[in-house]
């Protein structure tokens, strides 16, 4: 397997924003090694699994061999005298098969235990790794994608062990039993099982190679079908408004036909599963060979029966290994995606020894440029200076990089060229904890945890008293709506609780900020008030929040822009105008336009 070259960097857990005392180390150099390093922590369980698998297959093969012996006993000339021996033999057979069940159980449970433990540990490792990543990482990494990895891919690693590895190890033992035991009847009887095994793997290889592109096509065509289907129903108003029902149906039939054709082709390929034919050929040839040996008096009929029974054991691997091997492959692919995520650069560290003084709140940008890796620059040559306590409004169209600009201040991102200074000190030289503790960012999408309103407000200051929380809520003009809920501050938010409007969320976030009293407040404001009374409250809340601290507001509100100490007008990553309202009304045409 060519896993080794895909993962760029090796174990790089040293630089991170968050860490827990590591309880164990895993090898992150390749997916296989990584999975095995997890398995190694449970080596004794793995050992019992392998022993269980071997004993299961070995005891399974006892059955046909004993049946062969029994045949000899009951067909012997003095058969009537053999009933005692037959009883003993049957007893041994029964006991061996009960033990076999026990061994199989040990195999199953051992693999299951490793699988479940590994799933838990892998998810834990992934989660800690995610917590340690910088915000640059998280803002580039879509939540949906992370979720897919934390759920599906982690699951696939579980399935790698059970049923994947369980079935592979299990069926490999079934494959080798005829090879080991057939020679006890006659050395030449080894030929059929060995040839079968070789041909079987070749056929399997060919089959899987042929199937892979087809299953990809099935998945892709289904994705296409499903996406458009969901859109055509979600956007039904648009479809009907444009009178496009007929063309949507035509498109659906086209997509569905594409999917159907892919499914049919997959079915046709699967129907032609060659190992099945190989198995019956092996059985026929084995039978022929054994009967010829019998004809020549080299083995007896009981041995023919025993040998045929051993060959019949090959059917288990023939049927199961098909999906067992693809399970192993999917498990490895899942592990590869997980590693790819965990091994991605962290590029920020906690800078524990950095600058650590009370912050005043002066902010200066000196020729700052920024862009994501291998992308065009997002911000180019930005310079401005803000005195402590001033309010700065940032305006511009979508895509003008307003949000990226403010995120350089608390090192969510790091500037590529130029310097971002807070109190005259480059943000890179600040202790990260101190820097972030003093800067509060209220994002456009305000995230609230599925906890109570009180806990959400106190999120940044876990020990806050109820009085402090209420005072903060009042200052943020949130008190009023909170008290309209039956449970007031204990109202649970989120999926199983109350959902809040954008404006209400924003005021909770402001309350959060009041409680932590940051020196610099950054507010990405995209709420819109439906009515003037709400607007009045928002105005008051923001005004109170901005008082006494340096405040950056990305806003669409003309009133916020109008009264800011400094207005930055952005366009496509550049600062195209800057100054007070009065200055800009004289100098900037586009600025005048929005106030007309």
């Amino acid at each position: 397997m060519n896993d080794d070259k895909i993962i760029p960097s090796g174990t790089s857990m040293s630089i991170t924003e968050f860490s827990l005392p590591q309880r164990f180390k895993t090898n992150r150099k390749s997916p296989l090694r990584w999975i095995l390093s997890h398995a190694k922590r449970n080596w004794f369980i793995l050992l019992s699994a392998v022993i269980g698998a071997f004993c299961n297959a070995a005891l399974m093969s006892v059955s046909p061999m004993l049946i062969g012996r029994a045949y000899n006993l009951i067909t012997a000339p003095n058969a009537k005298e053999n009933t005692g021996a037959l009883g003993t033999l049957a007893l041994i057979l029964g006991i061996s098969q009960v033990i076999r069940g026990g061994m199989q159980l040990i195999r199953n449970l051992s693999f299951e235990l490793i699988a479940q433990r590994t799933e838990r540990n892998v998810r834990d490792e992934l989660y800690i790794s995610l917590l340690g990543k910088s915000m640059t990482f998280h803002s580039l990494q879509p939540v949906g994608d992370t979720m897919a990895r934390a759920t599906n891919d982690v699951r696939q690693v579980n399935f790698f062990f059970s049923p994947g590895l369980n079935m592979v190890i299990g069926s490999l033992n079934f494959l080798i039993m005829p090879v080991i035991l057939a020679p006890t009847y006659h050395p030449s009887l080894i030929i059929t099982p060995v040839v079968f095994i070789i041909m079987y793997f070749l056929a399997l290889w060919e089959y899987m190679g042929k199937l892979k592109p087809i299953t990809n096509r099935v998945r892709e065509s289904f994705g296409k079908l499903n996406t458009r289907l969901a859109e055509a129903l979600d956007g039904i108003e648009t479809v009907k408004g444009a009178s496009q029902e007929k063309s949507e149906v035509a498109l659906f039939i086209k997509n569905a036909t594409g999917y159907k054709n892919a499914v049919v082709e997959q079915g046709k390929t699967e129907a032609r599963f060659l190992p099945l034919l190989l198995l019956s050929t092996a059985l026929a040839i084995g039978l022929l060979q054994a009967l010829l040996l019998y004809k020549n008096g080299i083995i007896d009929m009981g041995q023919v029966i025993g040998y045929y029974g051993l060959l019949l054991m090959l059917d288990f691997p023939t049927f199961t290994s098909l999906w067992a091997y693809s399970q192993i492959a999917t498990g490895l692919a899942g592990a590869r995606r997980l590693l790819e995520l965990m091994n991605r650069e962290n590029n920020l560290d906690q800078n524990l020894t950095g600058f650590n003084e009370p912050m005043k709140g002066e902010v200066e940008f000196k020729g700052v440029s920024f862009g994501y890796e291998d992308g065009d620059p997002i911000l180019e040559n930005i310079s401005f200076k803000v005195k402590p306590g001033q309010t700065v409004a940032i305006v511009g169209q979508t895509g003008s990089s307003k949000t990226s600009l403010v995120k350089l201040i608390n090192r969510t991102y790091d500037a590529i060229t130029g310097e971002v200074l807070v109190d005259g000190v480059n943000v890179r030289d600040w202790n990260l904890e101190t820097l972030r503790r003093n800067i509060s960012i209220i994002e456009q999408d305000i995230f609230l945890f599925s906890r109570s309103i009180g806990e959400n407000i106190a999120f940044g200051k876990p020990g806050a008293t109820r009085d402090e929380i209420e005072a903060a809520a009042k200052a943020a003009q949130a008190d009023e709506f909170i008290l309209t809920f039956k449970d007031g501050y204990d109202t649970i938010l989120g999926e199983r609780g109350v959902t809040l409007s954008g404006g209400q969320r924003q005021r909770l976030a402001l309350a959060r900020a009041f409680l932590t009293d940051p020196r610099i407040l950054i507010l990405d404001d995209s709420t819109s008030a439906i009515d003037s009374a709400t607007e009045d409250r928002i105005q008051r809340a923001i005004y109170t929040a901005a008082k006494g601290r340096t405040t950056f507001i990305i806003t669409h509100r003309l009133s916020q822009i109008r009264w800011a100490d400094l207005i930055l007008v952005m366009r496509k990553g550049r600062l195209v105008a800057m100054g007070s309202h009065e200055e800009l009304m004289k100098t900037s045409e586009s600025y005048q336009r929005i106030f007309s």
Binding site: F18, M60, K80, A90, E231, K240, Q539
Partner: protein, 606 residues
């Protein structure tokens, strides 16, 4: 048959009579009957051959025991190989035919389901989530298609068991009884196991869902956690859920891991008993040694089909209730019904509501005896509190819903007599949350008129703010908008949906204005686009922005489904009536005057 119960049921679901359901199902299978017959024939042949194969091997033991002739040996081996080869070919033909038949049935049913869904009116979509409709069209139709393979799989195994059973009874009935006795035991184990496994799996899935939602929440909120340095606290929440899931899923694993060892041990004991008892029958010359061997070989073949049969009935139920869900979707009655399909020619855009009554639910009247006259080319703004019936007026004109009494006339003709598809081509509709398809900006703009050229659209785009908005898109008109337009800002999405109307050039334009906040630069561009449309269409504007109400020729104020005031902006404001109050509630803060006074207001209060 009414198998569906619980979570997935919707109000439009119905119970079909067994006979109707069967008739309906046969309708879908009929075109495939040739294929289904072929599959059945192959299935029967495979069962026969498999049973024969076992019998030949065991008989051979008797034949060749005392007289191992070369010809006999070759005959037996060739038969074994021949049957194996025949089975493989029959299986190949059967399976590929089955896949084709299944795919055709699924495709037909899904297309019918989708077509029905597209024809349902908006009241249907208000009531039922589109996600569930999607799953009826994709998942349920596939479950239905699986019926073919479920039935043939079980039928073939059952057939083999029956054939072997008959043969065994023919040889010796007492030994046969021993084989048969194991069947109910396995059947009961199968059923118990399925119950246990289902419960454990449900718990496992719940614990897993809990872990996933914990991860989702904390990863979505990671910036907040990092901002306040609370990583440890969210880790603890995660760790708890993860550990819990491990415990529950391990328990599930134990349950699932038990069944095969148990069955194998059981089969082993049965084999041992058969070896002994059968062996005694051989020594007493009741049966031959070959027959004894046949009984042993048959044991295994009885065991696992029985396991499958215990799962069979629930698979059938699953497929049938899936079909019922799709049929219910297809059969749901449409609410909007046209009485005629007259062509729409030279529409001027005059609209009349005469005593129109309309409600979504019977006891909640929305419009009551509404009478309204809108002149061609008139720009009419509708204002009022939430629930006053503003959107309903717009949606009735678009004929998205059926009204209960009165009449709506377009150019003096009853709206119910038009060819609906053609009528809507003359109608531009922009909803409050503009919907874009995941395609390019260009394709989205020409959604209303597929033959519009790129040059034409570029020229139109340039008329809005000198086309500056196109420059902000990374690849201009060819920018992919992402799923549901997620890669564009709300303002850009509104611009695209207005562009759609500009390209369509409709006689009647309906705008349900968005309330989302848009940056002042884009806002200005939207205003420009709007002005272009207003110039040439009869417009019904459900206004949320001050600039829109100001630009309307006439404003009507609605309350509880009635028009309570009308006039233009300045006149109504001076009147000091309902409009003046609404202005004070909804529009005051949008005025430049407010902007100037905002600072004063907040400072004075402190």
């Amino acid at each position: 048959m009414g198998f569906f119960e619980g979570l997935d049921a919707e109000k439009y679901d119905r119970k079909y009579q067994d006979r109707d359901l069967v008739k309906r199902i046969l309708h879908y299978f009929k075109p495939e009957r040739g294929k289904i017959i072929l599959v059945s024939v192959m299935t029967i042949l495979i069962s026969l051959a498999s049973a024969t194969s076992v019998m030949i091997i065991s008989k051979a033991v008797d034949w060749l025991k005392n007289d191992p002739k070369l010809s006999g040996i070759i005959l037996v081996s060739s038969l074994a190989f021949g049957i194996g080869f025949f089975n493989w070919v029959a299986n190949w033909i059967g399976r590929r035919t089955m896949v084709q038949a299944t795919a055709n049935v699924v495709m037909k049913l899904a297309s019918d389901g989708f077509q029905a869904a597209e024809n349902h009116d908006l009241s249907f979509y208000d009531e039922y989530s589109s996600g569930r409709i999607v799953s009826r069209i994709t998942t349920d139709t596939q479950d239905f298609g699986q019926l073919i393979s479920v039935i043939t799989d079980v039928a073939s195994q059952l057939l083999e068991v029956v054939i072997l059973g008959v043969v065994l009874v023919g040889i010796e009935w007492r030994l046969s009884l021993m084989v048969f006795v194991i069947m109910p035991v396995v059947f009961v184990i199968g059923i118990l196991f399925r119950q246990l496994a289902r419960k454990a799996t449900q718990q496992g899935m719940r614990a897993m869902a809990n872990v996933n939602s914990t991860i989702k929440e904390t990863i979505s909120g990671i910036s907040v956690a990092k901002n306040f340095r609370q990583e440890k606290s969210i880790y603890d929440a995660f760790n708890e859920a993860n550990t819990r899931s491990y415990q529950v899923n391990w328990r599930r694993g134990v349950v699932l891991g038990l069944i095969f060892p148990l069955l194998n041990a059981l089969a082993g004991v049965a084999t041992a008993v058969m070896v002994y008892v059968g062996g005694l029958s051989v020594t007493s010359a009741i049966v031959t040694a070959g027959s004894w061997y046949l009984f042993l070989l048959s044991l295994d073949r009885f065991l696992f089909p029985v396991m499958n049969i215990s799962a069979f009935w629930s698979s059938i139920q699953n497929g049938l209730s899936a079909s019922e869900r799709v049929f219910a979707l297809i059969d749901a009655e449409p609410a909007v019904v046209q009485t005629d399909n007259r062509p729409v020619v030279d529409l001027k855009g005059q609209i009349d509501f005469q005593n129109v009554c309309f409600y979504y639910k019977e006891d909640e009247g929305v419009l009551e005896n509404l009478t309204l006259h809108i002149k061609p080319r008139e720009n009419l703004a509708i204002v009022g509190h939430t629930g006053a019936g503003k959107s309903s007026v717009a949606k009735l004109i678009a004929r998205f819903y059926e009204f209960q009494s009165g009449s709506i006339l377009i150019d003096g003709k009853d709206i119910r007599t038009f060819d609906l598809a053609e009528y809507r081509k003359h109608l531009g509709f922009v909803s409050q949350t503009p919907f874009l398809f995941s395609d390019t900006v260009l394709e989205n703009i020409r959604y209303t008129r597929q033959n519009a050229t790129e040059a034409e659209i570029t020229a139109l785009a340039k008329q809005i703010g000198d086309g500056e908005w196109l420059e902000t898109l990374p690849e201009g008109l060819h920018t992919e908008v992402g799923e549901r337009g997620s890669r564009l800002s709300m303002g850009q999405r509104q611009l695209v949906s207005l562009m759609r109307v500009l390209v369509q050039h409709p006689e009647i334009f309906i705008l349900d204005e968005a309330t989302a906040s848009i940056d002042p630069f884009t806002e200005w561009q939207i205003q420009q686009a709007l002005n272009l449309i207003l110039e040439r269409s009869t417009s019904i504007l459900i206004a949320h922005r001050l600039s829109t109400v100001k630009s309307a020729d006439r404003i009507i104020v609605m309350e509880q489904g009635k028009v309570i005031e009308e006039g233009n902006h300045m006149g109504l404001l001076e009147n000091g009536g309902h409009y003046a109050m609404l202005y004070n509630t909804y529009f005051r803060h949008q005025s430049l005057e407010y902007v100037e006074k905002a600072r004063e207001m907040v400072e004075s209060e402190r």
